[in-house]
């Protein structure tokens, strides 16, 4: 049906091997250059070409996506509705309690002369695109350098930490999710106040390692950022599996991320805080150099740590 000649087959094979060699050289160059400006410029250029098409298709496809999403979730809607109704009752009660506590805190601050911390400025952005393969843990947002966004800033949704800005152009930016295997963050266990490092595993729960843990962590314990790479106090997730601390051994367990990473549509970029650590130009955190430096910068309001009573 498709006759092939030996000469042409050889040419094709030579071309194939040449392209593989070129690909190998490009990969080696990219790894050795550690994401220098050349590859970043190429990435930004490519993304800027595709952005109008992606935004257009996203806009056109939104109703279809919503319909498919609705159909696939219809079975669980009734149960979800009942659960949310119950949740509203509980939250309303908590809101009243929190209001009372806030008033008490204000009075105490006035007494000791401490000013109430200001909220960190944020920029709200919409996600319009994601990486082209299942192995890409990146999302693109429709705000960029013109809105005050720079590489290294933390990205949150209403549930918790989503990731970090790692590539910025004038009107767009790329977020590397906390599930990316190359991303890690210094964290603190809310109940014990001990610190550790969470790192992505590509998907699902994050890996938590605590090198100097003296107390066990329990399923459901809240994990927040410690202020070394991200603003302190951002909710990262909850411990997925209970783990004991043994002297001389690293405590290892997993953390379920709080952010709705697979459903998130809008995010906030915290533009009023940047990491103290250097080496953030590519947004990839080197786990070997992760520190546990804390700062006095207050947490944001949208993803702050609940009070111990709330954690209950």
């Amino acid at each position: 049906m498709f006759p092939t000649s030996g000469r042409r087959l050889t040419r094709a094979t030579v071309l194939f091997l040449s392209l593989i060699a070129i690909g190998f050289l490009i990969a080696t160059f990219d790894v050795r250059s550690e994401g220098d400006s050349v590859s970043n410029v190429m990435r930004e250029g490519t993304q800027s070409i595709f952005t109008p098409m992606q935004k257009g298709v996203r806009w056109v496809a939104s109703p279809l996506i919503g319909f498919v999403d609705g159909v696939s979730n219809i079975a669980g809607l009734r149960e979800e509705n009942e659960r949310l109704q119950d949740r509203i009752v509980v939250l309303e009660a908590r809101e009243r309690e929190v209001a009372a506590i806030e008033e008490e805190v204000r009075q105490l601050e006035a007494i000791v002369g401490v000013e109430a911390p200001e909220e960190l400025p944020t920029v709200t952005a919409r996600l319009y695109s994601s990486g082209p393969s299942a192995f890409d843990n990146v999302r693109y947002i429709d705000k960029g350098a013109n809105d005050g966004i720079v590489a290294g800033q933390a990205v949150i949704d209403e549930q918790g930490l989503v990731g970090r800005v790692d590539l910025v152009s004038a009107n767009d930016a790329r977020i590397r999710l906390i599930t990316d295997p190359l991303v890690s963050a210094g964290v603190r266990i809310r109940s014990t106040n001990e610190t550790g490092i969470v790192s992505g595993r590509g998907d699902g729960p994050l890996r938590l390692e605590m090198f100097r843990a003296t107390e066990a962590v329990y399923e459901g314990d809240l994990v927040v950022t410690d202020g070394s790479r991200f603003p302190p106090g951002l909710v990262v997730g909850r411990i997925a599996e209970t783990a004991d601390a043994e002297v001389g051994f690293v405590l290892r367990t997993t953390v379920n991320p709080s952010a709705r990473l697979s459903e998130v549509d809008y995010v906030k970029v915290i533009i009023g805080w940047t990491a103290l650590d250097a080496d953030l130009s590519d947004g990839v955190v080197d786990t070997n150099t992760a520190t546990t430096t804390t700062t006095t910068v207050p947490p944001t309001t949208s993803t702050t740590v609940p009070s111990p009573e709330e954690e209950g």
């Binding site: 094709a12 996506i65 082209p132 299942a134 998130v264």
Partner: protein
């Protein structure tokens, strides 16, 4: 020389890439949490319609675009999709009217592409082999590609004039 056909094929790759990152992107249509590998599917499906050399260049170009729009090391998808294009070209004679055979080729080459990418990614320090959903990310795109093979192959056959596809060698 059928350069017009190559341009159409390149356009198909671009459309696949845009759909992959939007319609099948995060928050889009992702059955069981994993999207089809649409770009890989298009590269496979171009096998019967594009000359081998152009097919290889299309695979390399598509892969480079994926690398540039993704988060991994540049060149990994380029090598992967070049290999997929080469295998698809070698199997072009097997693309027949048999749905089963075509489906098998699409499924097999998609799995092959995903596996090659994981191995290359691991080789270049991406730690992809440690992904907690590795099996799902390899198998599910192949399953969705299998389901999408019929419409994609049909559409490509339509726009790339299947009546004279015998020119490809």
């Amino acid at each position: 020389m059928h350069r017009g056909r190559v341009v159409v094929a390149l356009l198909a790759v671009v459309i696949a890439l845009v759909l992959q990152t939007t319609l099948f992107g995060d928050g889009g249509v992702r059955p069981l949490g994993v999207a089809p590998a649409l770009v890989t599917l298009v590269i496979i499906a171009l096998g019967p319609y594009v000359e081998t050399e152009y097919h290889l260049l299309l695979g390399f170009t598509a892969g480079m675009l994926m690398d540039l729009m993704g988060s991994g090391t540049l060149g990994l998808w380029a090598m992967t999709l070049t290999t997929v294009a080469y295998a698809s070209s070698r199997l072009r004679a097997q693309f027949t009217d048999s749905l089963l055979l075509t489906g098998s080729i699409v499924f097999g080459l998609t799995v092959m592409g995903q596996v090659i990418f994981v191995l290359l990614g691991t080789l270049f320090g991406q730690n992809l082999i440690g992904d907690s959903s590795l099996v799902a990310k390899i198998v599910l795109p192949a399953v969705w590609n299998l389901l999408l093979a019929v419409p994609v192959v049909w559409v490509l056959g339509l726009v790339l004039s299947p009546s004279d596809r015998g020119w490809a060698t």
